[in-house]
């Protein structure tokens, strides 16, 4: 049982203490029953969360959670929405993401614009995420979802990139693209589309080059060339016209760049630069900002000069302590 092996700090607690803690981080059943909030359809097999029916989650002590989503602010947010305040909009990556299979492997491409409603929030964001040394994934949709689902920063073992790494350690073999695909689609399906991430997954493993698309509800396609995002139609038109099997590396890169550019110029949700990732057997090349078709041309060389200075009411200066480097001098103690 996982519970017995977990250390809390440096002391091992008894099983009863864990049961007590786990029951505090429970799934709020009454929230699920009475409000349209999503939750996981499938139970994680090694569930360390026990259900105490009828009791609301009490976040009295904010100990670091064991992972997964917590729903304790849902009721308050719903109350605010009923009072007439609109829900917040999230950072979306409007996007054009593409992938294609060429002679020796897979090429993935993406634009670099992140939008918040109609405003460009980030002019140069990274949409090609690392999954494994031989597998990369482009993400469209809500930015937080694409980062979380492919990322490793959450301690939750459900995040795919860390699961793949653990699997590599366990089997001693390189990850296969189909493994990443199955993990991603299981995760996305279990949240029934509420985790809004549309992905293009590509990589080269022992069985050859593979390219897949994954939709937010969990369905997948296996294709020789694929596009996703708001600019997918613009990019797909380029692919449908010019794609052929057995492209060389340079032809493939040129075609991907052309497809992304057509998304950048014709779709308002995509813009800025072109990122490209070329994956071949045993080797990968991440060309960040491969093309920059939209440089800022109106930079004034003399900068901005302010005629009237700001008025300061109060100033407080806190000197910072000098950082001291401690070097070990002398010999270490011997037994």
């Amino acid at each position: 049982m996982d519970l017995l092996k977990v250390n809390w700090g440096r002391r091992k607690h008894s099983l009863f203490y864990y049961l007590f803690l786990a029951s505090k981080q429970l799934f709020p059943l009454d929230l699920y029953l009475f409000s349209p909030n999503p939750f996981r359809f499938d139970q994680p097999s090694s569930s360390s969360r026990l259900f105490d029916f009828g009791r609301m989650s009490q976040a009295g002590v904010d100990v670091p959670a064991k992972g997964g989503f917590s729903f304790d602010l849902c009721k308050r947010n719903d109350m605010l929405i009923q009072k007439g305040l609109k829900a917040p909009s999230f950072l979306k990556t409007g996007t054009t993401i593409v992938g294609l299979i060429f002679k020796d492997g897979v090429i993935l491409g993406a634009d670099t614009r992140a939008t918040e409603g109609p405003i460009v929030a980030d002019k140069n964001c990274e949409k090609i995420h690392y999954m494994a040394p031989n597998i990369y994934c482009c993400g469209a949709g809500t930015a937080a979802d694409t980062e979380a689902v492919t990322g490793i920063f959450l301690s939750n073992i459900d995040m795919v990139s860390s699961q793949l790494r653990l699997h590599r350690y366990q089997t001693g073999r390189d990850s296969r693209v189909i493994t990443a695909l199955t993990l991603l689609k299981k995760h996305l399906f279990s949240y029934q589309g509420h985790v809004s991430a549309a992905l293009v997954l590509g990589g080269v493993d022992i069985t050859g080059p593979h390219l897949h698309t994954i939709y937010p509800h969990g369905s997948t396609d296996t294709l020789p060339f694929a596009t996703m995002g708001s600019g997918s139609l613009a990019a797909m038109s380029v692919f449908e016209a010019k794609y052929k099997e057995g492209l060389t590396r340079d032809e493939g890169i040129k075609l991907v760049a052309e497809a992304i550019c057509s998304g950048i110029f014709n779709d308002l949700g995509s813009g800025s630069n072109v990122d490209i990732c070329v994956i071949t057997k045993g080797h990968k090349e991440y060309l960040r900002n491969y093309m920059e078709p939209n440089p800022r041309t109106y930079v004034s060389s003399k900068g901005y000069s302010f005629t009237k200075k700001t008025e300061v009411l109060r100033t407080k200066i806190t000197p910072l302590m000098e950082r001291v480097e401690i070097t070990e001098v002398g010999e270490a103690m011997e037994e």
């Binding site: 700090g9 909030n37 999503p38 904010d62 670091p64 959670a65 997964g68 989503f69 917590s70 729903f71 304790d72 602010l73 849902c74 009721k75 308050r76 947010n77 605010l80 929405i81 007439g84 305040l85 609109k86 829900a87 917040p88 999230f90 950072l91 992140a114 918040e116 405003i119 929030a121 980030d122 964001c125 809500t142 930015a143 937080a144 979802d145 980062e147 979380a148 920063f153 959450l154 301690s155 509420h194 985790v195 900068g303 901005y304 302010f306 200075k309 700001t310 008025e311 300061v312 009411l313 109060r314 100033t315 407080k316 200066i317 806190t318 000197p319 910072l320 302590m321």
Partner: protein, 204 residues
């Protein structure tokens, strides 16, 4: 009205040469009524990392307390301060945990990393990190701030010039936003000192 417009806020951070500046407005309002003119939106996590939170004021204060708690635990376990990149990942994870019932605030994180290299980033309310090399903005005045910073910013500014630039950008943007303003609060952090200044702005 959006939830973010309930209290009104404006936060901006800019990168300079081995220093950074983070600034916010000082108004706390309840829709159109101002109830405080000295609200603290920027908080120090440790000497080299600051976080500015815009959005619903109650979540600003709760989230700040949670983050200070987590950072203190980290200090006890690791016997050192958190690097700004690590802190940004921590904030992102805490916000994403509440993906389906989020904290209604948008953080701006600024810090000095290894070798005194400045680091800034912002996130939306569910933790999508947006790293930038020049400036980041957040709050109800964010659209004006984007424009002002885009025009006034130039790379590698020294501390005094950076202070002037960020103050002018902040004050000119909040002057065009009803929900934020009533002065400014600017922190300029270099490897040797933290300079905190209160600005005089339009009080309307």
């Amino acid at each position: 009205m959006s939830i973010f417009e309930y209290n009104g806020s404006a936060v901006v951070a800019m990168v300079g040469k081995n220093c950074f500046a983070i600034a916010s407005d000082r108004r706390l309002g309840v829709q159109l009524q101002t109830i405080a003119t000295d609200f603290q939106r920027i908080s120090k996590i440790h000497d080299r990392v600051f976080i500015g939170l815009s959005g619903l004021a109650t979540d600003v204060q709760t989230l700040y307390q949670r983050l200070v708690f987590r950072h203190k635990l980290y200090q006890l376990r690791e016997e050192r301060d958190m690097k700004p990149e690590t802190f940004a990942s921590l904030v992102s994870a805490i916000l994403y945990e509440k993906r389906f019932g989020p904290y209604l605030c948008q953080p701006v994180i600024a810090g000095l990393g290894e070798d005194d290299k400045p680091f800034i980033c912002t996130m939306d309310s569910i933790g999508a990190k947006e790293l930038a090399k020049d400036f980041v903005v957040s709050g109800t005045a964010s659209e004006s701030l984007y424009g002002a910073c885009e025009a006034m910013y130039k790379p590698d500014m020294e501390a005094e010039e950076l202070f002037e630039t960020i103050s002018q950008a902040l004050l000119s943007s909040v002057d065009r936003d009803c929900l934020s303003g009533w002065g400014g609060h600017v922190y300029v952090v270099t490897p040797n000192e933290i300079k905190e200044r209160i600005l005089k702005g339009r009080m309307d």
